[in-house]
């Protein structure tokens, strides 16, 4: 039996990522790839989608090339490989090639257990990626995430974050990343409360600001984030509507009005008038009409319990940001 590779030996010839937690599996792969690239920036990475590995493919990929470059080969869903391919993989791990790092991503169940056993017997480095079903596990995960980000967060803060975000590890990890980037100092319960309670409205208006300036991709991204943190969809339609409405009103307000009078007429603070004026470029009257109509439709879909309120909002955001550029090509 081969000597077992140490857990911290990221460049071991064979890594097994075992489990069903997508985030952890992805991270196990990413760590290996990063280590290989750190060792050799020209590393050739072959990430094989489930089913992409056919008999003979592996031999082809692992044959030493003329340039002897370092290679990382990732086999996804290894538990689903066909019998012929499994034979290939087993043969390979018995005699691995130099300069090649093979990562097998495996669900860890009874399916494909033969390959799992063979890999373990061959001394594979193993990374456990189990689903985190228990609240305690998720709490430990969040703590670990803050630690990795180099931030200290109180136990209460971690719990509060779990309460706000839910149990999806990807969202939790994203939230920790966001908090680490956006805040300074120790993270306590108050920070979480401030960040997530004030967030509901803030993100709606962020989505609107991006949409009315025609930044479609960013607006959509912001929208997904807002929904992920539990912002009510009606708050988003409200913010979109007020964004477009302000533009429509300012665009048609009396020209030559003094700024203070204008602000009073529109019911906005003067700084906002300036900001809306910036946003106004590219808009047309028809654009305002199209956009508000689309937002009204989204509001109806959201309130009528549409099957997919997120899609209704996405469509509205796309319509708004297209309308924001309706005047640019003329």
């Amino acid at each position: 039996m081969a000597r077992k590779s140490a857990p911290d030996d990221l460049l071991a010839p064979l890594t097994l990522a075992v489990g069903q937690e997508e985030l952890l599996l992805d991270r196990a792969v990413a760590q290996v790839v990063a280590a290989a690239r750190a060792a050799d920036p020209d590393t050739d990475v072959r990430d094989l989608a489930p089913g992409a590995l056919q008999p003979g493919t592996l031999a082809e990929l692992t044959t030493p090339s003329l340039f002897a470059e370092r290679k990382v080969v990732v086999v996804r869903a290894a538990q689903d490989l066909a019998a012929d391919t499994v034979k290939d993989v087993k043969a390979y791990i018995a005699a691995p090639a130099d300069e090649v790092v093979l990562v097998l991503v495996h669900a860890g169940g009874a399916k494909g257990k033969g390959l799992l056993d063979a890999a373990r017997k061959a001394g594979a480095r193993e990374v456990a990626c189990p689903k985190m079903a228990k609240a305690g596990e998720r709490l430990a995960f969040v703590k670990g995430e803050f630690r990795t980000a180099g931030r200290s967060a109180s136990e209460e803060a971690c719990r509060a974050l779990l309460d706000s975000i839910g149990s999806d590890l990807r969202e939790l990890a994203a939230a920790v990343g966001q908090l680490a980037a956006d805040t300074d100092g120790p993270i306590d319960e108050a920070v979480i409360a401030r960040y997530y309670s004030g967030r509901a409205e803030a993100t709606g208006f962020e989505v609107a600001d991006l949409a009315v300036t025609g930044r479609t991709a960013e607006a959509l991204e912001r929208l997904r984030w807002a929904l992920a943190v539990g912002q009510p969809p009606t708050g988003i339609t409200y913010a979109l509507a007020s964004g477009v409405r302000s533009i429509g009103r300012l665009a048609t307000a009396g020209r030559g009005m003094r700024p203070a009078d204008l602000a009073r007429e529109l019911g906005m603070p003067p700084w906002k008038v300036d900001r809306v004026r910036q946003q106004m470029r590219g808009w047309t009257g028809d654009g305002v009409a199209t956009a508000l109509t689309a937002i009204a439709a989204a509001d109806e879909a959201v309130k009528g319990g549409s099957d997919d309120p997120a899609y209704a909002l996405e469509r509205a955001v796309v319509t708004v940001s297209r309308a924001a550029r309706s005047g640019r090509n003329h």
């Binding site: 009606t234 339609t237 409200y238 509507a241 409405r245 429509g248 009103r249 665009a251 048609t252 307000a253 009257g285 028809d286 305002v288 009409a289 508000l292 109509t293 937002i295 009204a296 439709a297 509001d299 109806e300 309130k303 009528g304």
Partner: protein, 404 residues
């Protein structure tokens, strides 16, 4: 004068109800109970459903019928028809003080199931005056499901001398189980001339104004009266009918929408201001038995007040929606007139007083645009029913009124 005087243009309904009242008298004379079920073959039955277009006078008809059932005129023995309007029976019913006629008024709040059960229980008692025990239920379509089930029990197992008088906008608004046990009385849209005549006769309105109000209200008596006697209601209408001329540009559309929604909100607040405080005071007074005991609120009062506040809030939302609904109805009427002009129809216009504006809009586009605008108004109504933010829904509409 008779109890039917306030029903305008409903000759057929009056005839049917009079026949029923005559039959009811025969039932009383014979010492029997009311024939049950809509198909009993008798002109009298124990449950009635009054329907008709808004403002046609369903509750008025039901009350008049209740009065006719209690009529004690000496002329009846000489072959007169019930519902004289003078006798003590007729008079007390119309005044709302007859012991055997219970009216559940429409105050915009849905009837709690508790009250409905009590009502059903009360309905089963024998009339003190020896004639009929009548329960008049306005807005029978606004019952909660539980309350409707309690009502169903009442109309399913009627007491011999009880008569239920239910009012609703249309048959479809009432649970099938309930309506199948009722005889249906459908009021029609009263003709303009009859409405104008009523305004002149009853309210002493100037004939020209009466004519304008009768046309503009499109058969809604309450609305006609308010238009005729209330200057503010007329100026609201003028504001709404200005919209088709204001929607030339986006700014005009947004301003018009804002004004419409603000006005609706004001109306709801005004109404709430006068009603909510009084209801809360009444409720506190009802719990007042233990008042003065160390200033502690009586048991259960806090919960009851909270419940009342919840219902008041939903009523405010509905008032706002209804005010907007009236405005949408007027806009629809305006474009209907525009369409009539575009198609060269010679029938009467609802907004005769706005003819120049109608002609201007009619000349500015084809009938197809008018139809599209009418659709936008209807879509706005649907959106409001589905709880879309009112300002947003109205903006989408005014913007659609603008284009092309």
């Amino acid at each position: 004068m008779s109890v039917w005087d306030d029903l305008v243009g409903q000759e057929r309904a009056v005839e049917q109800l009079t026949t029923a009242a005559v039959a009811a008298r025969a039932v009383v004379a014979a010492g029997r109970g009311a024939p049950t079920g809509p198909g009993s073959g008798s002109a009298m039955t124990h449950a009635w459903l009054f329907t008709g277009p808004p403002g046609a006078g369903q509750a008025t008809a039901a009350r008049a019928f209740a009065a006719a059932l209690q009529c004690t005129s000496p002329d009846l023995d000489l072959g007169g028809t019930p519902g004289c309007g003078f006798c003590d029976g007729c008079h007390t019913v119309l005044a709302g003080s007859h012991a055997d006629v219970k009216t559940v008024r429409n105050d915009g709040l849905s009837i709690p199931v508790r009250d409905m059960r009590e009502l059903v229980l009360r309905a089963s008692s024998y009339p003190t005056g020896g004639r009929w025990s009548a329960i008049l239920l306005d807005d029978a379509h606004r019952l909660t499901e539980q309350a409707a089930n309690a009502l169903l029990k009442g109309v399913e197992e009627p007491s011999p001398r009880t008569v239920w008088l239910l009012c609703a906008p249309s048959v479809q608004d009432v649970l099938p189980t309930i309506r199948s046990r009722c005889r249906l009385l459908v009021l029609r849209t009263p003709p303009t001339a009859a409405v104008a005549d009523m305004l002149v006769r009853r309210d002493g309105v100037d004939p020209a104004l009466a004519d304008l109000a009768a046309r503009a209200s499109q058969g809604d008596l309450d609305r006609a009266r308010r238009l005729a006697v209330d200057e503010q209601v007329r100026s609201r209408r003028a504001d709404v009918l200005r919209i088709p001329l204001e929607v030339a540009d986006v700014g005009g559309c947004l301003t018009a929408a804002q004004r419409l929604v603000d006005t609706a909100k004001q109306d709801a607040e005004q109404l709430a201001g006068t009603r909510d405080a009084k209801e809360t005071d009444d409720l506190k007074a009802a719990y007042g038995a233990s008042e003065g005991l160390g200033g502690r609120a009586p048991r259960g009062m806090a919960g009851a007040i909270k419940e009342l506040e919840k219902r008041q809030k939903s009523r405010a939302t509905r008032t706002r929606r209804e005010t907007l609904g009236v405005a949408l109805g007027e806009l629809l009427g305006f474009y209907r007139d525009v369409l009539a002009l575009q198609l060269g129809s010679t029938g009467e216009l609802a907004n005769e007083d706005q003819r120049p504006a109608l002609q201007r809009v009619a000349a500015a586009g084809p009938p197809e645009s008018t139809l599209r605008r009418m659709e936008a108004v209807l879509a706005c109504r649907t959106a409001l029913d589905r709880n879309v933010d009112p300002l947003l829904a109205v903006e989408a509409m005014t913007l659609a009124l603008r284009a092309g």
